[in-house]
């Protein structure tokens, strides 16, 4: 009496789940989007050790960290390496009075309340969420920004877990 090969069946099932899962996990993270200007956090925050708050001025004051106005770029770059091709672009934006159309990398859904201020003031470092940003040429989303990811950290740090803390 020949039985169904149960071992075979189980093997098949496990493979069917594991292989695509593994492939999905191992999929190389896509690089961040190509920005209108190849701004390098490595140069600014890494090499020159500029404080994050120098440009992201509202990180301690507002829910959003803030993208620096073109004037902030201009004020340094009208002197600093103004001939480099990327900086020329910045200066062009300034001349044409056009804001730089940066492409958004980190975005949270509309129903989420996230305050940079509260996190920065609670001394959560920028790198906790944004990765080793000071070494990055092109910014990409380092963290998953999923609910579970937020909750993990909140649990670890005994931060509030009330629904209304983050949901609006």
């Amino acid at each position: 009496m020949k039985r169904f090969s149960k071992t075979f069946l189980i093997t098949l099932l496990v493979t069917a789940v594991a292989v695509p899962g593994w492939l999905l996990l191992r999929r190389p993270q896509p690089p961040g989007p190509v920005q209108p200007i190849a701004f390098s956090h490595r140069v600014h925050a890494g090499d020159y050790q500029m404080a994050c708050l120098y440009c992201h001025t509202t990180a301690t004051r507002s829910t959003v960290a803030g993208v620096p106005p073109v004037q902030t770029c201009y004020e340094c770059h009208r002197v600093v390496s103004k001939d480099s091709p990327e900086i020329v672009k910045v200066l062009q934006y300034w001349e044409q009075k056009q804001p730089i159309p940066w492409i958004r990398v980190h975005s949270l859904p509309d129903f989420v309340y996230f305050s940079h201020k509260r996190h920065v003031l609670a001394e959560v470092s920028c790198q906790t969420c944004h990765g080793e940003i000071q070494g990055v040429e092109r910014v990409r989303q380092e963290s998953s920004l999923t609910m579970g990811w937020c909750v993990d950290c909140h649990k670890q740090r005994s931060a509030p877990l009330e629904c209304s803390t983050c949901h609006k």
Binding site: S144, T146, M147, G148, W149, V151, D152
Partner: protein, 448 residues
């Protein structure tokens, strides 16, 4: 076998009789199948429109947040109950006449649960997120709220469907083997696959009988729990007209009542079309009718009790709610329901009526209507007349809602029609068992 004397029928004859109507669709059958499918498709399109546009295409609103979808859910779950009753409870009680109608009733259960299961999906505002009702580890680290009767529903109906399906399927294995052995080619392979290589060996039968009894023993409390849970969807709410301790037994009785009516609705035409008079006798209907009458009386009693407690407690809100039920905007429905569920079944006190299939068929239809109305009156009508007089309103189902409701009948009958052509409508081996001139049984019967 039952008391009425029957001509001895050979096992071959039984097998032939039961399998004869299979696989040879008549024009009428195809027409019915097409009609059922079309109805289901119409319902499906209505649903698609509803998903696309929003729940607003249905007539539900505030205060009646639940309407004919939930009424239909309860209705179909109720229908499902008689299948298990017949196959499990009557089995445990060794009721001799159950075999002839058990298969059909069980099939009805399966399809009715499937149909019922659609309604919570149809009714939720964001059906694409239905899986949030199922506890599984997820990246949100959130589980479900086990305090919610809706989660109890998920578990109760899920369990009910699984157990009923297993019960039905296991009951069919010997019959599937019989079909396998009588057919050739692809058909043989397919039935063979589902027969799992059943041989009818003594060893198999031994475990089979044991398992079947255990299934019946498990299904009996289950069937009671399922409709209790369904009734708690309402009874756990504080809505006047919902919040009642008698709901669980009352709903179980109502479910069985409606389910038996649906069995009559299905079996009477089936018996005629498939020439099963030999196996489904007037005595069967006589017995069924008695059960119908009995459950009808329970339901009537429950209605009276509800009104009595509402009136005699003197709670003005309860009183008002029940007064509204009987004499308010929906009074016509209420009185139709009373006639269908409480008054019309009283004819079954007469034996003649119990064996008059025309009467029984019409009555079963009336009871189906009445039981649907009962759910309608309990669910949306109670909601329209809640605690705050300022938000009292009316609920009128929209065409889309009615389309989906009609579609559910199409869905149910589509599966049922497929069932009668592809599977044996009577449990062959049990029928044979009944006709077997069994020494032990004969002695037993003689003694009793």
């Amino acid at each position: 076998m039952n008391a009425t004397s029957q001509q001895p029928v050979s096992f071959t004859q039984i097998t032939d009789d039961i399998l004869a109507p299979m696989w040879k669709p008549s024009r009428g059958y195809l027409l019915l199948l097409f009609a059922a499918l079309s109805l289901a498709v119409v319902g499906g399109l209505c649903w698609l429109h509803q998903i696309n546009t929003g729940m607003g295409v249905a007539g539900i609103s505030r205060p009646a947040g639940w309407g004919i979808y939930i009424a239909a859910f309860v209705f179909w779950v109720g229908i499902a109950h008689s299948g298990t009753l017949i196959s499990a409870i009557l089995y445990l009680f060794h009721v001799p006449w159950r075999a002839a109608i058990s298969r059909t009733a069980e099939a009805m259960t399966i399809f009715a649960v499937m149909t019922a299961g659609l309604f919570p999906l149809i009714h939720i505002g964001r059906p694409w997120l239905f899986y949030w009702l199922i506890p599984y580890p997820n990246e949100r680290q959130l589980w479900v709220n086990f305090r919610s009767p809706l989660i109890w529903d998920v578990f109760a109906v899920g369990t009910y469907f699984t157990i009923s399906l297993v019960f039905w399927y296991v009951g069919m294995i010997p019959d599937l083997a019989a079909i396998r052995d009588r057919s050739t080619g692809l058909k043989r392979n397919i039935y063979g696959l589902f027969a799992l290589g059943w041989r009818g060996s003594g060893n198999q039968w031994r475990h089979y009988k044991a398992a079947y009894l255990l299934f019946a023993a498990l299904a009996t409390p289950l069937v009671i729990s399922v409709h209790s849970v369904v009734s708690w969807d309402f009874a756990m709410g504080i809505v006047p007209g919902w919040h009642s301790t008698i709901f669980a037994p009352y709903f179980v009785a109502g479910a069985i009542f409606s389910g038996l009516a649906m069995v009559c609705t299905l079996v009477i035409p089936l018996r005629r079309a498939f020439h099963l008079e030999k196996y489904i006798t007037l005595n069967h209907f006589n017995q069924l009718s008695k059960l119908l009458l009995f459950t009808s009386l329970i339901v009537t009693y429950a209605y009276i009790t509800e009104f009595f407690t509402a009136w005699y407690t003197g709670n003005p809100i309860e009183r008002d709610s029940f007064y509204y039920r009987a004499f308010g905007d929906y009074q016509t429905l209420f009185w139709i329901m009373t006639v269908c569920n409480c008054i019309a079944p009283l004819v079954l006190f007469f034996r003649k009526m119990r064996q008059n299939l025309k009467v029984l068929f019409v009555l079963s239809l009336l009871i189906n209507v009445g039981m649907y109305l009962e759910r309608f009156i309990i669910i949306p009508v109670s909601l329209t007349h809640g605690f705050i007089p300022n938000v009292w309103g009316l609920y009128t189902p929209s065409l889309y809602e009615i389309g989906i409701l009609a579609g559910s009948f199409g869905f149910f009958f589509f599966f049922f029609l497929l069932f009668i052509k592809f599977l044996p409508v009577l449990p062959i081996f049990e029928i044979k068992e009944g006709f077997q001139p069994h020494p032990a049984k004969q002695i037993q019967e003689a003694a009793s």
